[in-house]
Amino acid sequence: MSTTNPPLPEFDIDPRAFRTLADAQMGVELDTGDMILNLGPQHPATHGTLRLVVRLDGERVIAADPVIGYMHRGYEKLVEFRTYPQITTLINRIDWLSSFANEVPFIDAAEKLMGVEAPPRAQYIRTILTELSRISTFVLFLGEMGLQVGALTPAFYGFRDREHVVNLIESVTGGRFHPNFNRVGGLKDDLPWGWVNETRTVLKKIYDACDVFEDLVAGNEIFAARTKGVGIIPPEIGAAYGVSGSNLRASGVDWDLRRDGAPYLVYPDLDFKVWTHPDGDSFARYWVRLQETRESCRMVLQLLDAMPSGPIMAKVPRIIKVPEGEVWTEVENPLGQMGYYVFSKGATGPFRVKIRSASFSNVSILPWMLRGVFVPDVITILASLYFILGDIDR
């Protein structure tokens, strides 16, 4: 029942070769016309305001051109006019499904430039909240990829299970979506009473939810038929485009910045496995994220057991003035590699910040990848790449 996609062409083959090849096989010269279809910017499958202009031949895509920028807020210009604590509020909104994870590398950059290090308890709490953000966004992904492929029910389960984690984050930080909790030198507040036990309960629920998703979605024959062999990213091409995170790991590249990059937060002390899958298709991307959700649950349990007591804020002056210098911090955001290149000139705000967001590069591979696929497969591929518009458009 499953069909194989046409072999992926090299980087520089004319995509129109598909149509003439098919005609030649039929022995007919059909005078068919192409249709240009706009998927978006308002479309349920594009996760936000992404516009995909595709040229179709029947149901096959000949060429695709993503048009982005509908949500461009001009972060790199805005941060030149703000102080570091003000910027923390802004950058929450880059990847809004895992907001806490966006703040961490920027605060890390400011702290490196200042020579300040957050106390161990703050580092542990930051790691726990980063992993909880990762769990919350991946659980949503597990549900809504089923929705994009046609199964209506897993999406609701995804949202329902995400609620548990988001409630946890809210009880610590006060914000479900935009915690704005990091401060240069540590955190704003300590954990509330009873939070650790509640987290353990929630993690158990998420663990069970992963089993449900594995059964209901990943184990479904139709889901497998729709996603296996669809949207294969060869590892070299993926890396050359800058595709990172679970997308690259699903192509077999064993690279995780928590383990392989410059040490940050508490990850050097944690014992965790990096999951890869050799296939590189949409099913592999789903599978890798499923395993990473479970892995994150285990990591949070380790962190809860090992968390030290102590202060949560280092001694920093009231007005944060960061000395001159430049620094690059990169982390393993749930969406991929997220990095900040901060240039500082000694003021209370940075001189220039280059925000490297993961989805920007993940989406840049679409023109290459979408040639020759069917329209329903376009939707599957978009869902499996898992980008957030705020991350693409900054």
């Binding site: 029942m1 249709m35 209506l152 029910t153 038929a225 729709r226 329209v375």
Partner: protein, 345 residues
């Protein structure tokens, strides 16, 4: 024909029958829609569904929706083909109404007991393809067109498995008449045991499975809802329809679901009849029959909607491959086996 004490003329009978059908079809659509789409789907998705309208678990929701649709502004795309755009929902709904004419609900509760009942029902249900194509083309919208073309290919492809599934039953019952099929099942016996009659689902289980799959595809329900793929085409061929035109499509969709469930209940589960060995009189069956049929229909519809809310959708080429390469050969084999066994036993 129901014989009443008073002799009402042919015209009045026709008018009564027409009115009954016109009222029943939307009512069945509402019942199915409420029970399965609003309540069962919601509970499967760990939410409650409508709770307020009408007080008790929101039973009034769809009636209220219907009234809302009736009073909406009639919007038509500027470049749409006006006449075809307006006629398309009518074609779909008319095809639904026509199916209900032959479904028996009691010993003589049927609008017209055609001798070619099964043949007529299947023939008339395929008229909706034309309506879908008209809707997709006249909407002047590329997404609608994509949806309509997918629908045309799919609906035509799945006519065949539907037909082949039913032929097995026809061979076993030796008649195309739906009342005849019901009575054969009621009066039959399984290897001499006649406590349950002989519902053809027992011998025609392959046919039943085939019919359910093909009916799911005919109704463009997941896993075969490519024409209406919500996350891609956002209602496909129906996307430009709003207000009472959309209401017609909705009634057509759920009414046809009810009709197909009714046909399945009739030819596989025994329809309105209880086993004849239970010794109920014809007069009693006139009252119990519709209720029995309703219960059986609800069971079949439960299966259809359960699958609808669980499975993802098949891609168009996978869908066609399933129909032509898997279902049709199985249907043909089923017919061969049934014929052999019918002659041999």
């Amino acid at each position: 024909m129901i014989s009443l004490a008073v002799d009402i003329g042919w015209g009045t009978t026709l008018a009564i029958k027409t009115l009954v059908i016109l009222m029943i079809v939307p009512a069945t659509a509402l019942i199915l829609g409420y029970t399965f789409l609003l309540k069962m789907m919601s509970h499967m998705q760990s939410r409650l569904g409508p709770m307020d309208p009408g007080g008790f678990h929101g039973w009034f929701q769809l009636v209220g929706d219907g009234m809302k649709f009736m009073q909406k502004e009639d919007i038509m795309p500027a470049q749409a083909d006006r006449r075809v755009f307006a006629m398309a929902p009518m074609v779909v709904v008319v095809s639904t109404f026509l199916i209900f004419l032959v479904i028996p609900a009691g010993p003589d509760i049927v609008v017209k007991n055609l001798n070619v009942g099964v043949f007529y029902a299947l023939a008339v249900s395929s008229l909706s393809v034309i309506g879908v194509l008209m809707a997709g083309w006249a909407s002047a919208n590329k997404f609608s067109l994509l949806g309509a073309l997918r629908a045309a290919a799919q609906l035509i492809a799945y006519e065949l498995p539907l037909l082949l599934a039913v032929i097995g039953v026809v061979i076993q019952a030796s008649t195309l008449n739906l009342q005849g099929i019901v009575l054969h099942q009621s009066a039959g016996s399984i290897f001499g045991f006649d406590g349950l009659g002989n519902p053809y689902i027992l011998t025609q289980f392959v046919g039943f499975a085939l019919f359910m799959v093909a009916a799911q595809a005919e109704l463009t329900q997941t896993p075969f809802d490519m024409p209406v793929a919500e996350s891609e085409l956002v209602a496909g061929y129906m996307v430009e329809y709003s207000g009472f035109r959309f209401l017609f499509f909705f009634i057509g969709e759920f009414g046809t679901a009810f009709a197909f469930a009714a046909i399945a209940a009739t030819i596989f589960l025994g329809g309105w009849a209880l086993p004849a060995s239970w010794g109920l009189s014809v007069g009693a069956m006139r009252f119990i029959g519709p209720a029995v049929l309703f219960v059986k229909i609800m069971f079949v519809a439960f299966l259809m909607f359960w699958v609808r809310f669980t499975y993802p959708r098949l891609r168009e080429d996978q869908l066609q491959a399933l129909a032509w390469k898997v279902l049709i050969p199985i249907g043909l084999l089923n017919i061969v086996a049934t014929a052999i066994l019918k002659v041999a036993m």
